[in-house]
């Protein structure tokens, strides 16, 4: 680049809004110059050129940064950079101070120069190569950049001769001045005089100290080992800055300038903030002496209380509170106990420690401030204040707890009570949470922590009446929060701004937090003082008789109570909680009002976003509560009947709704059907007597293709009906069988109708047919009992049931099998793996059941095998074979004693070997499934594999070939196979002999392939081979040694390593140790580093 003008043009282009040429290219060119030996010269030129824009000047400052990071090997260069930064900073500050408004954009370059100087400050005071230099001119420490700045700036302003030659750092006068300024002293009076000269001088000084300390904080947080500079800061810069800040905060400058208005530059707050963060960081470092901020905090507190509506619209108060908020949230003990006590009185008008000498006038100031924020609807500021106060309260949470509940402190009980009263009042701030106030939201954490602290207090420390105190306080807390979490408030939030998702989310989070709080409080209040109160609140009077006006607000109250009560009751087993059952019975309107809430929410027409959100909330709360009540409903048939009827009405209303608000109704539908399912599961005994026909009727109508319910609803209802039929055993198998066949007929008829329709219709109805098949599968699942299920009626008639389903007089299995065959035989469905999957699920449903458990889907071995053999040729094997393998695996497990080796061979051949070359062998997933199947059979019925012709003919050769595989899945499966084959506890004597003779034949090849695979595998797959090698060593020690000695030289020619490996392997015990020996061999053979 030939001239400075070219560089300037490039810089201007770089910073222009739409650069005409490639920006990357410009950046590369400019960076090259910045890093070159001409960098300092270029920077000086750019910073001094009078006609250059402030962007160019900034680039000049940036160039000095680059040079500072690159060229500081010699002190001369370093000093050049140091002095250049200083002179340019002073000069630019002078220009800026002459007309701050026109030169505002110059601040960016000034700040960059200040930042460069902060780097120099750290470097001089920390870097070894500078401090150990023998040159006497070398500056070994820089005491206080602020003093240097004030000294130079004063000289620059007062001596015209110097100012004219200011940037000529080679000038002896300038050089001398710079040298003198580095470690000069500036007295307090001179500091005051300087900053009093003009507001700009003051602000520049504040900005400089702020930048230094921010950079130092950043530097330290990057884990640089900095210590000396902190001492330097403590001894000098800290003292100057504290003086500077106090001059500002005590409004001394305002008095000097006769400014009566309460005003303060933002620089003061920014600087204070930066220093607090810095001191907070360094005070935990043992090497740094603590720097107190008490005077600053005290002055800030005084300043805050001067701020008012009239003086500054509480602007300063807001700024100071933000600083205090930062302290309380991050490092509260920075503020001394005495100062925190003063804050407490300001915030709350009361002190935890004393009720005498409390200056409540300061709290009056706080009340005025709150009033101002509320009146002017300054929600964000109110939120900040709430966060600040609650963060403050959290500092002393444990102390409050001790004073209230324990005998450890000798304290005045009345003071603590008064204190809690204030906190309760604050929690009960009479506005809408989230929308207008935030105290109640933030106080949730305080009360939750207080409850935790109380629960964790040792019994011996508790006051005799602590239980009653706890109940009194926490009951009030719950009573405050109940109306706060009401959906009425959510409605207000949505109506204020329906697009403001964050406020809605915040309110939802608030409700969740209150749930968590309630669960904490339950351990203090118990059912007696919490659950009962909620149940009573919901069910003591009939909400249906309320006058129209105000009805909705009562429903919202019920919803809020139900919301909390459900969270408490869902953890209880109601049918085994006589206390709660008794309370529920004593509140005759409880169930009725919950159902009313459900009905009201179902009836809400979705006319707006607000309604849709509230509707979902109300349905969720009421339906969840109905589900939770299932245990209670087992002993209250009238209520059970009402619940079922209401839930079905709700479901009906969803299916009647068309697409306009589909999302809302889909959600509602899911909530309802899940509740129905819970009730059917829990109350199956009660429902099986009277309601079964009703359920079947509803199920029948929802099964129809015209019913607009989801597939999930259909299959869940199928399962629900199944629960009830499963329980209908008292009248013998024939009656239950009739119900089962009725359900199956319904579904099968509908599927048949679809299958009889033209192919294009079948295509259109694929989802529907799949859904109907899933209904059969779910229905079948419902008919499987839990392991701990006991039905006396069934046990008494078990033999009858067993025989009944063995004979299957209604031909359920045959009919269903025909249907499955129609599906699997149809090209419309058999290429779709979802249909194959569900058919396999149905066929294999009863395969895991104990032999004497009756089930209508207990297909015989031959039925299942026939289906598999018949349709394996037509299904899409790549996606559907896994379902056949799954079925086959279950089949072998169930019928292991009936399976013959010939049958196993035949099936293995038909399902695997036939497709091996074309498909399975090429697909690691299918390969893994095939090998895993063999492993399962080896585990459950080893004789089938060991005597199989497929073993020597196919399995062994393939599994040998696969040992050196590249695919992790395959390596894991195949090594597991060999390990299982060698080491299997399920073997009989004959099996064992069989295996041993097989390994004696294949051993040499097996060891070779294993070690070959191991040698060529990735490090992460080494462990897969460990168990196999250990198995061989354990079961065939002599032979394996010989096989290894023979195989290893063929793999790589490292005899010493092999010998060491073999010797170590045979004296090693344990998997980890063997793994290490194998790893060492692998690393040494492959010459890879160990790390």
């Amino acid at each position: 680049m030939s001239s400075i003008e070219e560089v300037v043009n490039l810089i201007e282009t770089l910073y222009s809004a739409n650069p005409a040429i490639d920006v990357n290219q410009i950046q590369q060119n400019l960076q090259a110059i910045q890093k070159s030996n001409d960098g300092i010269h270029l920077a000086n030129q750019l910073l001094t050129g009078a006609s250059y824009s402030n962007n160019v000047k900034y680039f000049g400052a940036l160039t000095l940064t680059v040079q500072l990071n690159l060229n500081v090997e010699s002190f001369e260069t370093f000093w050049r950079l140091f002095s250049s930064n200083l002179v340019h900073l002073i000069r630019l500050c002078g220009i800026y101070a002459s007309d701050t408004r026109s030169n505002a954009s110059l601040m960016i370059a000034i700040k960059k120069l200040m930042s460069n100087l902060s780097l120099i400050f750290i470097t001089i005071n920390e870097t070894e190569h500078v401090t150990e230099d023998n040159n006497t001119q070398v500056i070994k420490q820089w005491n206080n950049p602020i003093n240097t700045f004030i000294h130079l700036f004063s000289e620059y302003g007062s001596k015209q001769v110097l100012a004219n030659n200011w940037t000529n750092v080679d000038d002896p006068m300038m050089a001398q001045l710079l040298q003198q300024s580095i470690n000069c002293d500036v007295s307090y009076d001179n500091l005051l005089k300087f900053v009093a000269t003009s507001q700009t001088f003051n602000e520049l000084t504040l900005t400089f100290t702020e930048i230094i300390i921010e950079d130092l904080t950043k530097y330290q947080s990057k884990k640089h080992n900095v210590t000396r500079v902190h001492e330097m800061v403590h001894e000098r810069l800290y003292i100057s800055t504290m003086a500077l800040l106090n001059i500002n905060i005590t409004l001394e400058l305002n008095h000097i300038h006769n400014i009566t208005k309460l005003q303060l530059s933002d620089s003061v707050f920014k600087c204070t903030y930066a220093w607090i963060n810095y001191i907070s960081m360094t005070r935990h470092m043992s090497s740094v002496t603590s720097m107190s901020l008490s005077e600053i905090f005290q002055n800030l507190m005084n300043l805050m209380c001067q701020s008012s509506d009239q003086t500054d619209n509480f602007y300063i108060a807001e700024k100071v509170l933000s600083i205090f908020g930062n302290v309380f949230a991050n490092d509260p003990t920075m503020m001394s106990f005495d100062l925190r006590q003063q804050i407490e009185v300001i915030f709350l008008g009361i002190s935890r420690t004393s009720n005498t000498n409390v200056d409540t006038s300061k709290n009056a100031w706080m009340l005025q401030y709150m009033n101002y924020l509320v009146t002017n609807e300054m929600t964000e500021e109110l939120k900040e204040l709430a966060i600040c106060i609650v963060d403050y309260l959290q500092i002393s949470n444990l102390d409050v707890c001790n004073k209230l509940f324990s005998s450890v402190h000798s304290n005045d009980y009345n003071i603590s009570q008064e204190y809690i009263k204030v906190l309760l009042q604050m929690t009960n701030f009479p506005l809408t949470p989230v929308l207008q106030e935030f105290f109640s939201v933030r106080m949730v954490d305080f009360w939750a922590d207080l409850a935790d602290s109380y629960v964790n207090l040792p019994n011996e420390a508790l006051l005799p009446n602590s239980t009653q105190i706890g109940i009194d306080i926490f009951q009030q807390v719950i009573n405050i929060y109940l109306p706060k979490i009401s959906l009425q408030n959510k409605q207000k939030i949505i109506e204020e701004d329906a697009q403001d998702e964050s406020a809605i989310h915040e309110f939802d989070d608030f409700r969740s937090a209150v749930i968590e709080l309630s669960q904490n409080l339950w351990s203090i209040l118990g059912n007696e003082h919490l659950t009962n109160m909620l149940v009573g609140g919901i069910g003591s009077s009939d909400a249906s008789t309320l006058p129209e006006d105000g009805k909705m607000s009562v429903y919202y109250q019920i919803e809020a109570m139900s919301f909390i009560a459900d969270a408490l009751m869902s953890d209880m087993n109601l049918s085994e909680s006589p206390w709660i059952l008794n309370i529920l019975r004593k509140n005759p309107y409880f169930v009725r009002n919950i159902l009313l809430l459900f009905q009201i929410s179902i009836q809400m027409a979705v006319t707006s976003k607000a309604v849709s959100i509230l509707k979902i909330n109300m349905v969720r709360s009421s339906s969840k509560m109905i589900g939770t009540l299932a245990g209670y409903l087992t002993s209250n048939e009238a209520d059970l009947s009402q619940c079922i009827q209401t839930l079905f009405q709700g479901l009906e209303s969803c299916s009647a709704e068309l697409s306009a608000n589909k999302d809302v109704y889909d959600k509602v539908e899911i909530m309802i059907i899940k509740t129905i399912s819970i009730i059917c599961d829990t109350c199956r005994q009660q429902l099986s007597v009277q309601y079964l026909d009703h359920f079947i009727g509803v199920f029948s109508s929802l099964l129809q293709p015209t019913a607009t319910v989801s597939g999930f609803t259909r299959s869940t209802l199928a399962k629900s009906v199944g629960y009830i039929i499963e329980c209908r055993v008292q009248n013998g198998p024939e009656e239950q069988g009739k119900y089962i066949v009725q359900i199956l007929d319904m579904i099968e008829d509908l599927i048949d109708q679809c299958l009889d329709s033209p192919v294009n219709i079948q295509h259109e109805r694929k989802d529907y047919i799949l859904n109907l098949l899933n209904c059969i599968s779910e229905f079948g699942s419902a008919m499987i009992h839990d392991e701990d299920y006991e039905s006396t009626a069934l046990i008494q008639m078990l033999q009858q049931y067993h025989e009944f389903w063995q004979n299957d007089p209604f031909q359920c299995r045959v009919k269903l099998l025909n249907l499955i065959e129609r599906i699997l035989g149809s090209p419309v469905f058999n290429k779709d793996s979802s249909f194959v999957e569900v058919c396999c699920l149905i066929l294999g449903k009863a395969l895991t059941l104990p032999d004497d458990d009756p089930h209508f889907l207990r297909y015989s071995m031959s039925d299942i095998i026939n289906v598999m053999l018949k349709y394996v040729q037509v299904i899409e094997l790549s996606t559907s074979l896994p379902y056949f393998i799954y079925l086959l695996e279950r089949l072998v497990i169930q019928f292991k004693t009936q399976f013959s080796v010939e049958e196993f061979d035949y099936l293995f051949n038909e399902l695997f070997i036939k497709y091996y070359n074309a498909l399975i062998g090429r697909d690691p997933d299918l390969l893994q499934m095939m090998i895993n199947f063999v492993i399962t059979v080896l585990d459950k019925a080893p004789h089938l594999v060991l005597n199989s012709k497929c073993l020597p003919g196919f399995i062994i050769p393939q599994c040998l070939k696969l040992l050196p595989s590249n695919e992790k899945f395959t390596i894991v499966a195949v090594t597991k196979f060999w390990t299982k084959l060698i080491n299997n506890r399920k073997y009989s004597q004959a099996d064992l002999a069989n295996m041993q003779s097989l390994i004696m034949v294949q051993g040499q090849e097996l060891v070779y392939q294993t070690m070959y695979g191991l040698y060529h595998t990735q490090r992460s797959d080494l462990n897969s081979y460990t168990d196999l090698i250990r198995g061989l060593v354990a079961k065939f020690p002599m032979e394996t040694k010989e096989w290894l000695i023979s195989a290893l030289p063929q793999i790589c020619d490292k005899p010493t390593i092999h010998e060491k490996f073999v010797n170590r392997l045979f004296v090693t015990r344990g998997s980890r140790a063997a793994g290490n020996v194998i790893l060492t061999w692998w690393l040494e053979c492959t010459a890879l580093p160990s790390y």
Binding site: K667, T879, D925
Partner: protein, 157 residues
């Protein structure tokens, strides 16, 4: 539990209560005597909006070992959870939860929860943990999506 573990878990709880992503929940479980078990948490991860997971809130259990934060917590979804990177036991295969991979003591509960939410819709092809979901995800996207949507309904919000 070591004091470091206890201190860190208390800090995690405080941080979570003060700032957690919307729709998530996480809280320590209770011991039989009603006191809090800070080493075992229960949490809920909502599926991301605009994905096939969005309808559900998926329950997690988080167990912190005594060596936490040197060692990561064990995070589990319900057993049988359908996802390519979730083992049949429900254990989640995620690098930030693996001591030998990307676990760092500075990782917070919030980062873990967001990481799992992210994993739901963007399975990691390099860490298959269960066969059915993995196979369907690789070879039969339609089937995979159908099952995920059904599972989301089972864990509906």
């Amino acid at each position: 539990m070591s004091s470091l573990c206890l201190q860190r878990l208390q800090e995690e709880r405080k941080k979570w209560r003060k700032d957690h992503p919307f729709g998530f929940f996480a809280k320590p479980t209770k011991k039989a005597d009603g006191t809090m078990n800070l080493q075992k948490w229960e949490a809920g991860i909502p599926g991301k909006e605009g994905t096939i997971w969005h309808e559900g809130v998926y329950p997690l259990t988080i167990e912190y070992p005594d060596e936490y934060p040197s060692k990561p917590p064990k995070v589990k979804l319900p057993s049988g959870f359908y996802h390519p990177n979730v083992y049949p036991s429900g254990t989640i295969c995620l690098s930030i939860l693996n001591e030998e991979q990307d676990w760092r003591p500075a990782i917070t509960l919030k980062q873990i929860c967001l990481g799992i939410q992210d994993l739901l819709d963007t399975p990691n092809p390099n860490s298959p943990a269960q066969e059915p979901a993995w196979r369907a995800f690789q070879k039969n996207k339609a089937d995979y999506e159908r099952k995920v949507v059904l599972q989301a309904k089972q864990y509906a919000k």
